[in-house]
Symmetry: C2
Subunit: 512 residues, 2 copies
């Protein structure tokens, strides 16, 4: 991490200041549903069998500093990223080349690919696909350079992009705390209304789903229609999802149901016209035609513990319901795709983004990524990764989704030494992004933790597209859909609030 | 309780139906701040020292049945009740007669009266007074009569009328549960949109406070202005208050602070012009001129544990801040006032409500109330109360506010036998209101409790008035301000969700 380009921030608080800030934070968050179900370490399951307790979602006390130009830069490429990934997901031939290399070594990807092939053999019946994407960035400061900081992409999420429901609330929280002078006067020059952007993620993501629901068309079964939220059960981060659901209900009059991934085969069936029919267990006499399946489950290998889970995924994929996402869209989000796009001098970006300006703006957000295969770039990467000195600027990441299991810097050479070389291509090597140093305090599980932090900015994108013949596609909707700022302690190099390390945040934009 | 005039309600639920209803209830409530801090029996204090846990406020699973005409009747007299109690609070001479009888036997009332007299001697400096009242009713069905049910007043609250913040949310909850078919089809004829009135209590009560804040006029000290929420600390029902505060902030741009009753003397002072100046402990360099003090504390004798509490109350009363309520307004809410108004053939109602129509509508909501003094009505009451048979239609209530300590029916004669006769005038005897029987399920502390229930409808009223010379007053604002339905198990004859027995509810209006 570079030395900081930011002003001194946040200030030390007196006991009275801290108490005022925390009291208001705790009350506002619960009053506005910025909440999670408590972790078992906080409230053991036996104490609350009905699961009626909740607590403030992990949040930062202060909005973290973030360069205004970087924030604008990330937002400005959202629509281009929607273009890019909808194009990739529509180019089955190209994806085949990517995936076939991985199925040998990645059972999960192989399973997904098999589903695609089964549905392809039978014939797809739904040309529309919905992407609710999130492109995650960090601010990168070139060491020893005087150039402006830029954002560099960490990853691109094509499935179950989370925290859009809470992000609108946390930007509301920080704006509220500012409005009641919970932030000391000495930082008034940084923290002011113009520096605290609201996140539109709740209404925007709901608008994306509503557009797909509407594009599905009228029910041909005569049944009422609904959108299915495919979920894990139990789910501690349920309010994040509920805010989207309530916005769909209230702003768009769309009926929604939560369906645990493990109940797909019990509660749905595919009729002779491949309509996906949902039967609510609480009212078996009533049936619904499903217009959209929004995946907040089924994205990770460890959720597929039996053949039934694969059958469930197949059942959804072969139906006429609009999938958010399709199997191909999920596969487009593999890190291998990010890697081939970001491999220096790659020809692929131009294939999917023929608009030079768009492609050039997207390219600026890539950090160099290398394969660990036997290509020329791969051989170069192997050299970089095996030497402690050069490895110290890199991170080794598995191709698969879901966070976790990254290998950092000097830990890379010994890790590779212990790994059979045939498995090396399951990893990519990525230049470390070097964010500017800053501090903050995280409130989680009723406790505060202060120290250095790293921020990751996610920009949501909503894209609805329709497949045509020969890989052609027509974009029906394409818009930026709000942001997420996630912040974690800089001692933990693993990412993700969901994984238990971080907090939801909002940016305090600064001109640096 | 009479046999029921209501349809069979609510229906038995299957396990799946109950699970669907409860899951949606638990999630919606937290997402919308229909919450309380958990009771110590649910989460021991040591487990959550920072107080970051919350849970669904005690609520009913179904909206309770309530006769539509009774609901309309209660709403229709709200403005007349505002007139009535603002007139009483403005008639110091009349109130003197009431209070002087009680100060001998009621130290709390004596203390309040002393404060009034001290400020009167010094001279009041704020002619404006704000009342955020709540008139509580039950449906009464005359046994053995064929007449329509009517509402009868249980009590009139002139201070700290609670649950207005949560009531808007619980009507929202029941409407949401209806909209997602959580209520089985078999009750669709009862539960429908037109039967589920929204409660405007949050915006309406905030509007009342905002009107007072505005009427206070501009700051003459040059300091910024604020509204003080005078609160108990700790407060489990904090979200109820926070919703009002946030509505004041957001809808009216009014700055608010929560001030624990025990900190009044530390954090406020009265300047030479009797302005009430608030110094936030978290920012001692900044000071505010207080426009309105909204009492959610200081209403009950057990809060005045030292002379400092009385000094605090005096400090507020003698200042220019608009009190919600003034000491006189709090005293106007004593049960003794309710009693003399509702004593059969009382002349007092006409004194305060010269409009015959208004007075007659208000009179219809009175249940007969007798003093236990040595007046003619009092001697009649003593006879009724001492005989087990006649006593079984009555409740004996202490004059003081706050709920609790009521003596019911056959328990009255032995209670009076053990009580020195000199203390009898501290009680009133009231005819029991006989509500129709019905059932419901209450969800509280993560558990459900089903059975017979009793409902109490509270109608909020907002009234801002200005004292003139010779007891004349001018009404500045007078409006109905939403409703509250509180429901408790019928085995507990004590009232009040706050006391731990009941739940917040909303009405399902029925034509009976």
């Amino acid at each position: 991490m570079s030395t900081s380009m930011y002003p001194e921030y946040p200030p030390e608080l007196s006991e009275d200041q801290k108490s005022y800030l925390l009291t208001n934070l705790k009350d506002w968050s619960i009053a506005h549903g910025l909440a999670v179900r408590p972790a078992p370490g906080y409230v053991p399951a036996g104490q609350d069998p009905s699961g009626a307790l909740a607590t403030t979602a992990p949040v930062t006390l202060f909005p973290s500093l973030f360069p205004r130009l970087c924030f604008e830069q990330a937002k400005s490429v959202a629509k281009a990223y929607n273009e890019l990934y909808s194009a990739i997901a529509s180019d089955e031939e190209w994806l085949t080349g990517i995936v076939e290399e991985l199925v040998e070594i990645d059972d999960f990807m192989a399973g997904l690919w098999k589903i695609h092939q089964a549905v392809k053999a039978e014939g797809y019946v739904q040309p529309l696909a919905l992407g609710l994407f999130r492109s995650d960035y960090m601010v990168h400061v070139d060491r020893g350079s005087t150039s402006q900081p830029t954002v560099k992409q960490v990853e691109f999420n094509t499935i179950a992009s989370s925290f859009g429901g809470l992000s609108s609330q946390v930007s509301g929280l920080h704006r509220h705390l500012h409005s009641i002078d919970a932030y000391p006067d000495e930082i008034a020059s940084s923290v002011n209304d113009a520096a605290l952007p609201a996140s539109s993620s709740v209404p925007s993501l709901a608008r994306g789903m509503a557009a797909a629901h509407k594009a599905y068309g009228i029910s041909t079964t005569g049944l009422p229609t609904c959108v299915i939220f495919l979920v894990q059960d139990p789910e501690r981060n349920v309010f994040d999802q509920r805010h989207l659901e309530y916005a769909l209900n209230e702003n768009h009059g769309v009926r929604t149901f939560r369906l645990p991934f493990g109940r797909v085969l019990q509660d749905t069936q595919v009729d002779s016209n491949r309509k996906l029919i949902y039967t609510p267990p609480q009212n078996p006499a009533k049936r619904y035609e499903v217009t959209v399946v929004y995946f907040r489950a089924g994205y990770s290998p460890d959720e597929y513990t039996s053949d039934a889970h694969w059958s469930a995924r197949l059942q959804i994929e072969r139906s006429t319901a609009i999938k958010c996402p399709t199997v191909l869209t999920q596969l487009a989000g593999t890190k291998k795709v990010q890697q081939v796009l970001a491999t220096p001098h790659s020809p692929h970006l131009a294939r999917f983004l023929p608009d030079h300006n768009q492609a050039s703006e997207v390219l600026k957000t890539f950090a160099p990524i290398y394969p660990l295969d036997k290509s020329e770039a791969g051989m170069e990467a192997r050299r970089l990764a095996q030497h402690p000195e050069s490895a110290s600027r890199y991170v080794l990441k598995p191709q698969r989704e879901g966070g976790g299991n990254n290998i950092y810097r000097k830990a890379i050479p010994p890790f590779l030494k212990d790994l059979a070389e045939t498995h090396w291509p399951a990893y990519i090597l990525m230049e470390m992004i070097e964010p500017p140093a800053q501090s903050n305090t995280i409130f989680r599980n009723g406790e505060t933790h202060s120290g250095g932090v790293i921020c990751e900015l996610g920009i949501y994108g909503a894209c609805l597209w329709q497949a045509g013949t020969g890989g052609k596609r027509e974009i029906v909707e394409n818009f930026e859909a709000g942001y997420l700022l996630r912040t974690k302690g800089d001692q933990s190099e693993e990412g993700g609030v969901a994984a238990g390390f971080g907090a939801v945040d909002s940016p305090c934009l600064v001109d640096v």
